[in-house]
Symmetry: C2
């Protein structure tokens, strides 16, 4: 059994990670943490550096779940990466964080989330940092 | 604890219902089944009739979960209804079925699913009938 979570260092990424750890514990599943970013900003805080990778490894080890961290090279499409890893592993669940939208952007979903939701070949659990419980 | 599921008599509605029953069993939560339709077709097969209601009641009773079936009047917006029930109950999870899209509609998500995903104040589990396991 395998669970895949999209992770970026942000409130929604943290919420997704925490929930994915819980789900992996509950179903005794292997957890793959995918960190990817299109690299479309001059300074990309979405990709974790070596220090953040190490801290993430320590957190996951402390949780006791069987895990793997998949860091994608800059410019990898996060949806492609998450969907690809999930497909390769025949994952039972994908967990993604979602941004709470401003009133203006309320009806527009990010393309990464939308592609994962539409193309995933397994159930997708999506959550916002504000309502992650 | 409370779980809300959007249900219509269709493969994706069935997949959502089955998964929601499992989740309710697993977390010992009360399950509210919301059946609503905009009523924008001449013959609306999405709203359950008295016979289907009765059959649904029997299935849910057999599952052993604590349940409630909420049938909305014709013309109720399904997203509003599901979000409203979930908010009122401070639901821990919303479960929705999603259609697998044709290549043409691949990147267009139904507005009901999109609104639920963006506006839900709890995690949302979405699944397609083909990949419901």
């Amino acid at each position: 059994m395998s669970i895949v979570v999209g992770y970026i260092p942000s409130p929604e990424g943290e919420a997704a990670l925490q929930r994915a750890i819980l789900e992996a514990e509950r179903s005794q599943s292997r957890l793959t943490v995918v960190n990817a970013s299109k690299g479309d900003t001059p300074i990309d805080n979405r990709l974790i550096d070596a220090k953040q990778h190490h801290e993430l490894e320590e957190r996951l080890a402390a949780s006791g779940v069987d895990f793997w961290i998949e860091r994608s090279p800059v410019g990898s499409d996060p949806a492609d990466k998450i969907l690809g890893v999930a497909r390769a592993q025949r994952a039972e669940l994908i967990v993604i964080g979602m941004r709470k939208r401003s009133p203006v952007g309320k009806y527009i979903m990010g393309s990464t989330a939308q592609r994962i939701l539409l193309q995933a070949e397994c159930p997708v659990l999506s959550l916002k940092a504000e309502y992650a419980w």
